[in-house]
Structure formats: structure tokens, C-alpha cells
């Protein structure tokens, strides 16, 4: 009686302790990231006031001083950082230091849905293609399909995403004019009905999504194949085969679940790459997403905006890691028992 009652409780406290430790560590990491970014960005030459003063012949030193006081840039750096962190704790990212001086959070919130949407759609496509491909190439090792996939994977790894984008624009956009090559909507967007609007956006996103998908495909299908090969080597697969299970049951029920575990982790780890990639792809296709916002902020030395983007990127990355961790624990019972013991 006591043993059955205490077992689940011990397990929950184990998980709770692990989660608390993990959360604390995540917060520390986040703090470290903000610390490094803040000082690197503020100590680098140039200032947000440049575009409005140094580059403007009508503005003198007095105007610069005035702007610096307005932005609080005349204070010592550590005071600025402390102030920034305190405001961050209230989810206040400050106002943009550009001509469009709305709150950073508002400006990011306008751009975020597009970037996240495009990335999620492409990730789903990547998983949809690479998981079956990984399974087949692992089961039929050294077959023609496997060799062909290996070649494509190497090409995929070496393909610069912006070049792929240019080639797709050239072929589908300019040569055949099947898809529009830039922007999110056509000029007559406001005149379209609801379905017309959806179709218009889908057509504009077709090429960017293709670039993202091909970019992610190589790594994911390669990884899926490697994980599958690793799992197929284990004794429990031999057992499953020995007890006479049909091959598809062995592969899909016994092997796949275990092979998917590392893939989940890879998904979590791929978040920073996706965010970085959005700068390039959004600038090529002129998509009004987060990457484009960041690029403009960097060019204008808009400190609050850059910091806001970096924090958001770091939070998304950490959330990806945490989610991967969580899914991992959820899908793999061995992690529960390990957590219960500590």
C-alpha cells in the first residue's frame, strides 16, 4: 500500500526538481545571452543617433546630445544594462530608436506570425518527407534509392539557401512566371475575396517555403536514417523479429518510436538556424517578417530593436530546447525513471 502510494509521488517530485533546476538554468543562460549581446552591441562603434545627426548636415553636436539624453545613452553602460533588464522583467522592451518609435514588442508582434508561420509549414513538410525517406533508406541500405538520397543530401548540405532562392526565382518566377518572386501580396490584394486572398498569399509563399524545406531536408533525412540504423541494431528488434512479427510492425511500432527520439531533439536545436536563415530568405523574397525587421534594425543601429530580436531569438531557442527535452521525457520512459532516482 505504502509502496504503491509513494512511488508516483517520488516520481513527481523528481520531475519537479528536474524542471526547477532546468528552468533556473534556462534563466541563467538567458541572462548570459543578454549580457553578452548588450555589451557587444553597445560597445561596437556607431550609435542609433548617427542617421539623425552625423549623416544629417543640418543637425549639430547639440542635437546629438539631446537625442542621446532622450534615448538614455549618455548614462554609464552598466546603468543602461541594469535599467534594460529591470524593464525586461516587466516585458517592456522599450521603444524603437528609429524614426518609427513605436514599442519594440508591437513592431515584433506584427512581424512574428509570418516568420513563425513559414517556418512551421516548412518544418512540417520537412518531417513529412524526411521521416519516410529516412525509414526507407535505412531499411534498404545501399539500395539505389539510398545512394541517390545520399548524393542529394550532400548537395543539399552544400547548397547556399540564397542561391537556391535565386535559381527558383529564375526558373519559376521569371522563366515561367508560375509564382510571384517578391512580397507577400499582389497589388490588387484588397480587391480579392477571402479565398482569393488566401490563394494570393499561398502563391507568394510557395517559393520561400520551398527554399526553407529543401534547406532542412538534407539534415533531417540523413539524421532520421542514422537514428533508424542505430535502433535496428538493438536486441529488441531481433526479439520482435524472432517472435514472428511482420516486418512493417517491427519497423513502424518498435523501431520508429525509438528512432524519432533524437529527431525531436534535433528539431529543438534547429531553431537558431531557422531564425538566422529567415534574415536571408526574407530579404531575397522581400517578405515583411522578423528577419527583415532585424536587418533594418541592424542597419539603423536601433539598439532596443536589436536587443529585442536577440532576446526573442534566444527565448525561442531555449523554448525549443525545453520542448525537445519535455517530448523526449514524455516519449522515453527510461528518462522518467532516471529522473525519479535523482
Amino acid at each position: 500500500m505504502t509502496s504503491t502510494a509513494s512511488l508516483p509521488r517520488r516520481r513527481t517530485t523528481g520531475i519537479a526538481a528536474r524542471t526547477a533546476k532546468k528552468t533556473l538554468w534556462l534563466l541563467l543562460t538567458l541572462l548570459g545571452i543578454t549580457l553578452i549581446s548588450f555589451f557587444v552591441i553597445h560597445l561596437a562603434p556607431g550609435s542609433p543617433t548617427d542617421t539623425e545627426t552625423t549623416l544629417n548636415p543640418l543637425a549639430g553636436e547639440a542635437a546629438r546630445k539631446q537625442l542621446e539624453t532622450l534615448y538614455g545613452l549618455d548614462r554609464p553602460l552598466y546603468v543602461q544594462y541594469f535599467d534594460w533588464v529591470v524593464r525586461l522583467l516587466h516585458f517592456d522592451f522599450g521603444n524603437s530608436m528609429s524614426a518609427d518609435a513605436r514599442p519594440v514588442l508591437t513592431k515584433i508582434a506584427e512581424r512574428l506570425p509570418l516568420t513563425i508561420g513559414v517556418n512551421v509549414i516548412s518544418l512540417l513538410l520537412v518531417l513529412l518527407i524526411s521521416i519516410p525517406l529516412g525509414i526507407i533508406t535505412a531499411c534498404k541500405q545501399n539500395s539505389l534509392l539510398d545512394r541517390l538520397t545520399t548524393i542529394l543530401v550532400f548537395l543539399g548540405f552544400a547548397m547556399p539557401s540564397f542561391w537556391l532562392a535565386l535559381l527558383l526565382m529564375l526558373f519559376f518566377g521569371i522563366e515561367h512566371q508560375w509564382f510571384p518572386v517578391s512580397g507577400l501580396t499582389s497589388l490588387n490584394f484588397s480587391e480579392l475575396d477571402f479565398f482569393g486572398k488566401c490563394a494570393d498569399i499561398a502563391a507568394h509563399l510557395a517559393l520561400p517555403v520551398t527554399v526553407y524545406t529543401i534547406g532542412g531536408l538534407a539534415g533531417m533525412s540523413r539524421y532520421m536514417r542514422a537514428c533508424m540504423l542505430e535502433v535496428l541494431r538493438h536486441d529488441y528488434i531481433l526479439t520482435a523479429r524472432a517472435k514472428g512479427l511482420p516486418e512493417h510492425a517491427v519497423i513502424l511500432r518498435h523501431a520508429l518510436r525509438n528512432a524519432l527520439l533524437p529527431v525531436i531533439t534535433l528539431l529543438g536545436l534547429s531553431v537558431p538556424g531557422l531564425i538566422g536563415g529567415s534574415v536571408i530568405i526574407e530579404s531575397i523574397f522581400a517578405l515583411p517578417g522578423l528577419g527583415q525587421l532585424f536587418y533594418a534594425a541592424v542597419m539603423a543601429r536601433d539598439y532596443t530593436m536589436i536587443m529585442g530580436n536577440l532576446v526573442l531569438g534566444a527565448v525561442l531557442t531555449l523554448a525549443g530546447n525545453l520542448l525537445a527535452d519535455f517530448c523526449y521525457g514524455f516519449a522515453d520512459p527510461r528518462i522518467h525513471s532516471a529522473g525519479g532516482r535523482t
Partner: protein, 279 residues
């Protein structure tokens, strides 16, 4: 007859290695001997031949200032390879040093280094690289340093893992008993045995650095015109993609082939040198 079959067997088994070596060799040769191979100087303007498609006179066409694309690609290769090598040199030095120290001394040193690695891995590093380069005035030196400083984590982890296992081996114990100092053990006994993973990740790192450099240059934040780099040639090509598509094709092909070469070489080195990673 015997020798021929042995040769074909070797070729078949190491096709990846040979292909990678060939690409790396020819690309390096083309870059090193750019002044000899290039039909024209990279900045020579042929104003009467603006935006000409590939022809016998200009093998890969000309750009919007009438410069020869093929010659500029040869010189661009120098830039890409140089940036790749120096950036990897920096990242491998940092990664190896930190990996050795944290694997050998363990305890709080190890803890600190590995936490730093975790933090760096959580950085949206391309964002940071972009911001820093834009602030520091984009030039080659800055790009190499920044790429190097943001890509040492993988090497550090590999070297640490290798050091952790090497430090328990008998020859290290023997050296310690003989009174050899820790630093000497690290440099003379552990480092030489941990070089295989370093070599592999350095080769793959060159490919990665070339990709980052060309992305930066494509965004206009890398190597600045008029100096040619494959990335900024593509950036200039994109502006005239509708009338001169060849400008958007060949420099990208050069990036693809070079990166492919280093990846093939790195992967086949891994297969040969690191039996644990063999599939």
C-alpha cells in the same frame, strides 16, 4: 591485372574521399593561381561589353560594369578560401584549447566551459554575427574573427570528450608518475592523440565558414565591392536577374562545389579516422 583491380577497388571504396580531395585540390589551385589562370584582371572594365552572356571572349559572361565573371570568380575563390581557413583556424584553436583544459582539469573548469558552450549554442548566432559585422564596418578581417569566435563550440565538445577518455589511459598515468607537468602532458601526450576529431571538424568547418561568409556578402555585410567574393557577386547578380541570369548562376555553383568538396573530404575522413562514428 592484379594492380588494376586493386586500383578500381580502392577507387570504388573511397570515391567520396577521392572526389572531395580532387575538388579541394582544384579549387585551391584555381584560387592560388588566379593571376595566372584569369584571362583578365578582376577589376578591368570592358564598358563596350556590359552584361554580355557567356561567349568565347568572356567565358562566363560579364557583369554590369563589363567585368569578366570568370576572372572575378577565380579571385573570389581566394577570398572565400582565405576567410574559411582563417576563421576555422581561430575556431579550432579556441575549441581545442578549451576542450583540452575542461576535459583534463574537470570539476569547476569543465563546468564553466561547458556552460559557456551551452550559452553560445543557444545564441541565434547569425543574428549576432550580422549585428557585429554591420557595426564594425564589414571587412575581411572582422568577418574571419567573428565567424571564428562564434563557431568553436563543436570542436570544444569533441576535444573534451576525447581528453576525458585519454586522461585515464596508462601512458598518461605513466607520464604523470614520471613527474611531467600537466601542461606538458596536455600538449605532448593528449593533444596529438586527440587530433583526429579536430582535423575532421576543421575540414567540415571550412565548408561552414565559406557558407556564412557568402551569406554575409550576399546581404551586403561581408566582403565589400569592388573586391570580388562569390557572395557579393550573387548580390550584384540579383539586381539584374531578369536581364542577366548567368550572373546569378555561376558564382553559386562555385560555392556549391567548394562546400561539397570540403564536406565530402570531412565525412570520408570521419569514416576512416573515427571508427565509432562509422555507420
Amino acid at each position: 591485372m592484379m594492380r588494376i583491380s586493386a586500383f578500381t577497388r580502392f577507387t570504388a571504396r573511397h570515391i567520396m574521399l577521392l572526389l572531395g580531395l580532387a575538388i579541394v585540390f582544384f579549387m585551391s589551385l584555381a584560387a592560388l593561381c588566379a593571376p595566372i589562370f584569369a584571362p583578365y584582371p578582376p577589376f578591368a572594365l570592358h564598358l563596350e561589353h556590359i552584361l554580355e552572356p557567356p561567349s568565347s571572349q568572356f567565358w562566363l559572361g560579364t557583369d554590369r560594369l563589363g567585368r569578366d565573371v570568370f576572372s572575378r570568380m577565380l579571385y573570389g575563390g581566394r577570398v572565400s578560401l582565405w576567410v574559411g581557413f582563417v576563421a576555422v583556424g581561430i575556431s579550432v584553436s579556441i575549441g581545442t584549447a578549451l576542450g583540452l583544459i575542461s576535459g583534463y582539469f574537470r570539476h569547476w573548469v569543465d563546468e564553466a566551459v561547458m556552460r559557456a558552450v551551452d550559452i553560445m549554442l543557444c545564441f541565434p548566432s547569425f543574428f549576432l554575427i550580422l549585428a557585429v559585422i554591420a557595426f564594425l564596418e564589414p571587412d575581411m578581417t572582422n568577418i574571419m574573427i567573428v565567424i571564428g569566435l562564434t563557431s568553436w563550440m563543436g570542436v570544444a565538445r569533441l576535444v573534451r570528450a576525447e581528453t576525458l577518455s585519454l586522461r585515464e589511459r596508462e601512458f598518461v598515468d605513466a607520464a604523470r608518475l614520471a613527474g611531467v607537468s600537466s601542461w606538458r602532458i596536455l600538449l605532448l601526450h593528449i593533444l596529438p592523440n586527440a587530433l583526429a576529431p579536430v582535423l575532421i571538424s576543421a575540414t567540415l568547418g571550412v565548408a561552414g565558414a565559406i557558407l556564412v561568409e557568402s551569406s554575409l556578402s550576399f546581404l551586403g555585410l561581408g566582403v565589400q565591392p569592388p573586391t570580388a567574393s562569390w557572395g557579393n557577386m550573387l548580390m550584384e547578380g540579383k539586381a539584374v536577374i531578369e536581364i542577366a541570369p548567368w550572373l546569378s548562376v555561376y558564382p553559386g555553383l562555385a560555392i556549391l562545389i567548394t562546400v561539397l568538396g570540403y564536406n565530402l573530404l570531412g565525412e570520408s575522413l570521419r569514416d576512416m579516422l573515427d571508427p565509432r562514428m562509422r555507420q
